[in-house]
């Protein structure tokens, strides 16, 4: 599940007097993901190292001049480019101290923005819609600039992106309430113009965000009524001729965000990855009408993944660079790290067991000195402190690897090394921090194991499953891998901890378990709790009710079916399978399933296995239905209902086969009697239910009784 971590302040803001804007014009990534250039709305540009929250440089234009476009960093030339007073392009390097002494060039038309993607060439977008590469523009600064936009058409938003080595400038305009999207391709230059479908009259999109995926530009836009639409534009679209009619742009409603009352005023939505969207300035669905929330939504499942209340006024501005959200609010610019792991339905619905929910709320305002000084966790803290992680990174950067590095390592390193590093990572880092990458870790391990028959790390995988951060849908091959490698312990763990094992896999497990020879099964080391449960159950085979009052005859300890042959016991009283096999089968019985999906897979079992399985179920049923059924203290054990359901399912799946099998006759008769007794029980319960409901009704009625003394007031 996506998570927002504890944020930190990058710098203070000087918002306008009436708080109408945040005082920040733009934030652009600098040389790497840890450096950003922040341009304020008046005169200055600051360079920050984000993780240190430290300004590295600052440039200011002269009084009376204004920066009209956020500064960008040209990583090819290591130069900064900005525009002052709409027409003056300024270019400087980090070592330049005074901006006035740096390069200046005045162009003939007003510039809307200079864009520069990382590693790309700077592009200048003029207010009238023309686009020039910076280099070619500077070659002849006073060259005439054509007008692309119509009268009264104005740019609202623009972005520059590189898709398949093609550079694009995408911008949206507004003209008398109509909104248009322009996709300008550079080299060769083509321009596509689209008309956005109209939302309710009088409202225009509050924010845009674009991303490139699968050869398509995906434009995301948020309306004040909370509707978030996505439009997909092909990058290979035909270039439109000059003056051609704007194409209508189809859209799909991605999310309808809750807007408590009125319309959104300052809100912004940003695409984080294919599924996740960060939204700011929209009310949290469970926190009333306050709009000062930063939320991550999963657009595929329409679920809220993470939310964070931001103190102070929200300006509706939001940037994101390398898993960090930059958000101006109140009088500060905050950086909030986030994580959007590959989403599964289970995690999207919060079904995956984890302590994420309370974690994100717990404030960690006071950093621990221990952490900072010694760089290690003195006490397991569940909260994430950026200061702490930062110091962690600093002090441990040499010996230990980050999750990403470990991922890379898994692909190549030897079994021992992988085990060591993954275990190290798991023990080192708080599991809550790691949670999003656990899935990736497991998936990488599994894919390596599948590809390389020599590679298998059972303990590591078991450890990962034990974290309970994993589910089947995140790593669908894990269970089958475990089966393939006959790692029954891992199978057991998966069956225990995965909430979403498909019926086909459950059935595959069942098939595998029931067909393993007992000898093999006994070799596996399984969860001791479930073994001890099964042991008690089997030790009572001779009808001994020996555990009462704490007295247990030693001769029956660890009694297995082998040494029971001496005493004459009716056959259905003997466990038909070995201890470990029984433990594994129990796990299968306890998984969640739906009959319709399970039934077809159950039909694949061969008749011998079916009979064996039914015998085992019969044995379990008899054990469990006895009055002296041990109430295992908190141990996982199949309930009577689960056993009965499985009996019915297996019978349904194989009824004709069983009827034809002579050795199954006695079994069927026995099972029939069980079902009969269950039916009787249920019918008795049904009778009681009626009376109990009556009782319930009686209570609701306020009984005044024959006599009461009351106080009333007349007005």
């Amino acid at each position: 599940m996506a998570a927002l971590y504890e944020g930190y302040t990058l710098c203070g803001l000087a918002p306008a007097q009436n708080l109408s804007n945040s005082g920040i014009q733009g934030i652009e990534e600098e040389r790497d993901s840890d450096h950003v250039v922040v341009t304020d709305s008046t005169r200055s540009v600051m360079l920050y190292k984000v993780s240190d929250q430290k300004p590295l440089g600052s440039w200011t234009v002269k009084q009376g001049q204004n920066l009209t476009c956020p500064a960008v960093f040209n990583s090819q030339t290591k130069e900064y480019v900005a525009v002052s007073d709409n027409k003056v392009i300024r270019i400087w390097k980090e070592e330049d101290i005074l901006l006035d002494k740096a390069f200046k060039a005045t162009v003939s038309s007003d510039v809307w923005r200079v864009h520069c993607v990382h590693g790309g060439e700077p592009v200048v977008l003029f207010q009238r819609g023309a686009v020039r590469l910076l280099d070619s523009l500077l070659a002849a600064p006073q060259q005439p600039i054509n007008e692309v936009l119509a009268e009264e058409e104005a740019i609202r938003w623009s972005i520059n992106m590189v898709a398949e080595t093609q550079q694009f400038v995408i911008f949206t305009t507004e003209q008398k309430g109509d909104n248009f999207l322009y996709v300008q391709r550079l080299n060769p230059n083509t321009l596509q113009r689209y008309r956005l479908e109209k939302e309710e009259p009088g409202i225009s999109p509050l924010s845009f965000s674009a991303s490139f995926r699968d050869q398509h530009i995906r434009l995301l836009y948020l309306y004040p009524n909370g509707h978030m639409y996505q439009s997909v534009v092909s990058v290979r679209g035909p270039g439109a001729e000059e003056g051609a009619q704007a194409l209508p742009l189809p859209r799909s409603l991605l999310l309808a965000l809750p807007v408590s009352e009125g319309l959104l005023e300052a809100a912004s939505a940003l695409v984080l990855d294919e599924a996740h969207v960060a939204v700011v300035g929209v009310p949290h669905p469970s926190a009333g009408a306050g709009k000062d929330f930063l939320c991550i939504w999963n657009a595929n499942f329409q679920t809220l993944q993470a939310g964070k209340e931001m103190a102070g006024k929200i300006y509706g501005q939001l940037w994101s660079y390398s898993n960090k959200l930059f958000i101006p609010h109140g009088k500060t610019l905050s950086v909030i790290p986030y994580e959007c792991p590959k989403s599964s339905l289970a995690s999207a619905l919060g079904k995956l067991r984890q302590a994420q929910a309370e974690e994100s709320k717990a404030p960690a305002l006071v950093p621990s000195w221990n952490n900072i000084l010694h760089g290690e966790k003195v006490q397991p803290s569940r909260t994430v402190d950026t200061r702490k992680t930062r110091t962690n990174r600093k002090t441990q950067s040499t010996p230990s690897l980050t999750a990403d590095q470990v991922l890379e390592l898994i692909k190549t390193a030897s079994v021992e090394e992988v085990q060591k590093e993954v275990e190290g990572l798991l023990s080192r880092v708080d599991i809550q921090v790691l949670q999003p990458s656990v899935g990736q870790l497991a998936a990488t391990l599994v894919s390596r194991s599948l590809a390389d028959p020599a590679f298998y790390t059972p303990t590591t995988l078991a450890q990962i499953v034990h974290t309970q951060c994993l589910c089947h849908s995140v790593c669908p091959d894990l269970v089958l891998l475990a089966l393939e490698r006959k790692d029954y312990f891992l199978c057991q763990l998966c069956l225990q901890f995965f909430p979403d094992i498909p019926e086909a896999v459950t059935c595959a497990c069942l098939k595998a378990f029931i067909s393993i020879p007992d000898v093999d099964a006994e070799k596996a080391s399984l969860d001791p709790d479930s073994i001890s449960f099964m042991e008690t159950l089997m030790s009572r085979e001779c009808g001994q009710v020996g555990l009462q009052n704490g007295f247990s005859p030693t001769s029956f300890e660890g009694g297995h079916s082998e040494d029971k042959e001496t005493t004459p016991i009716p056959p259905e009283q003997i466990c038909p399978v070995g201890l470990h096999k029984a433990v594994l089968l129990n796990e299968v019985l306890q998984t969640a399933y739906s009959d319709t999906f399970l039934l077809p897979h159950l039909k694949d079992l061969c008749s011998q296995h079916v009979v064996l399985f039914l015998q085992y179920l019969q044995f379990l049923y008899q054990r469990c239905s006895q009055d002296s059924f041990p109430q295992m203290h908190g141990l996982r054990s199949p309930s009577l209902n689960q056993i009965m359901d499985w009996v019915c399912l297996v019978l349904d799946a194989h009824f004709t086969v069983l009827v034809m099998t002579p050795e199954a006759k006695g079994l069927l008769l026995n099972l029939h009697s069980f079902v009969k007794s269950q039916v009787r029980l249920v019918s008795e319960l049904g009778k009681i239910e009626g009376s109990l409901q009556e009782l319930n009704k009686m209570k609701v009625k306020k009984d005044v009784g024959q006599y009461s003394i009351e106080v009333i007031e007349l007005f």
């Binding site: 006599y707 009351e710 106080v711 009333i712 007031e713 007005f715």
Partner: protein, 685 residues
Amino acid sequence: MGEFKVHRVRFFDYMPSAIRAMAFNSRSERLAVARADGAVEVFNFADNYFQEKVIPGQDGRAAEALCWVGQRLFSAGLNGEITEYDLENLMPRYSVAAYGGPIWTISSNSQGTLLAVGCEDGTVKIFEVLEERIQFKKNLDRQKGRIISLSWHPSSALIVAGMMDMIRIFDAETGHTTHRLLVERGVGASKSREVVVWSVAFLSDHTIISGDSAGKVQIWDGLTGTLVRAHLITKWDVLALSVSQDESSLVAGTSEGTIIQFQFISSTVGHKDKEWVRTRTFKNHLHDVRALAHTDTAVVSGGMDTQLVVRPLLDKVEKNTQESALRKIAFPHKNLVCCAKKAGLLLFQFPEHLELWRLGESDGYGKPGDSLPVKRKPEKLIELKRKGEDHICCSALSPCGGWMAYSTLSGVRLYRLQHNNNNISITKVSKLPKDLSSARQLCFSSDSSKLFASSSHSSVIVVALNQSECKYLHTLKPKSGSRQPVHLLAASDDGRWLATANTDCEIHVYSLDKLKLHCTVPVYSSCPTAIAIHPVTSSLIVVHADQQIFEYSLARKEYTEWSRKLQKQGLHSLWLERDTPVTHVTFNPRNPAHIVLHDTFMFCIIDQSLPLPEAKTLLYNQMTLRSVPESERIRHSHAFKICKNFQHLMCVSLLEDHSLVIVERPLQDIMSQLPAPVRQKKFAT
């Protein structure tokens, strides 16, 4: 207004008796209802369905059928006697044996000269109605099997009789059978059982309608004796039929509690031939509908579930008026509970016995809405069985709790109650004055020194009481010479006045000092349902069946200023729309401006010092007043403080300690004591 401690009493196990028969006199608009315990009640439909008269029952004398002849009311019962009632003295006038075994039915011809009764022995006996009595005239041809139902042809020449398995038409003159109509039995198991023709009706066009135990309503041609049409309307019995005066509509009551209406209309539009078509079904009863009356505008029904239901036919009345509302009369329009204000005692009147209870106590205090802990439970002190066959018709308890009296048709009994500590002793006062032979209404003076008993011709007998004996003092008689009985008595607290009201709507006030008539209140068209004399101002409060309230000053012999104001402004429409009469009026000793009165569904404290509600103001405004801040309440409040927290009220009274006594008899409790109905229709059964 303030807080009241309320004794909420639900231990009065009053159980009304099932309705057996009814007869509607369309000329006087009075409905006579016979109940299973033998009591006969007369409702005045012209005066808000007020229960004017109650003739108390008698053991072993239940009426099976009722019949009006002009203004005279006759009944016949399974005791084999025909009884005429004295509607002035509220007692049977005489009984005549028919000598034909139990009588199932009685019917008079349209001229009102002849009465026919159907007897168990198979005879139809004709009686002549004379001035003061009835006289046997003749028997019609005797038949095999009992006569269950009878109906005269409007021409009086023919009589139709419903019997077992058949209907016969007699010539009233010769007494011979002219036609014999065989009624088909039910199908299946009931094939072996005789079918009972519970009810027949003979229309002027010689159509005969019959309702039988096989669940059929059949329409016959009386001239040819052929079956025209049979409607199967129930799986059970059709017990009662009633035809409207103009013979265009008829209703049939069944054991299922449904009433089915048939109308004589043309089945297709524009077609001239009319026929009886089943049109509507009403379901207002849980149990058998034993008796039906089809008035011009409504269907009146009654049966096992003891309620009298008036269901207006919406094609005959104006919609959304008071007239179009369904009325259920479940409780008698008179007091069966007497409260001794000073002693905190309650006297409950049953037909068979009296119960004297002491109220419980609580020493707690609580917020409004609280139930206080009951320190001492209420206690039944005395259960007094009546003597003789006649049912108790009235009773009284003196305010001090020292005297108790009841009356049956045959006599008055007076008891002296003595309380010492927790013991109570009861002694019957043996020698009563001869004049005090029977009373319709009893009342003690507030100081318990006098007993007033209403007697014949609107007179009131005054008896003086002291420690051991009682002495006849005087008989108060009005000058009007009304022959109607006094049904309401009210003595003033200061012992100076006694007010009486009779069913001629006259109200007389006597001075007890002078033992003579003080004044007569101007006669109002509606019958008084409750009267009381104000303890401070000595003005008389009268509430009428049409819900009007009057205040009459006894000192000045005129309506008071407040009363005039009330009449001038008019009562609130919602007040006038209530469908149960006010049966009791009392006063608040702490605040003379307060008048406490109640009907079945609410009690009301009228504060005479507050402005009267205007037509547009909210009448039931207690909830509003609760929600507004105290300072604003005065702006919203008006004189009528109505509390509907308590329902099915039998009595509301203010004790001397300012606590209210409210006696409830929830209708559900009555319903739960009824036998199971024949068939409860359940979904999907």
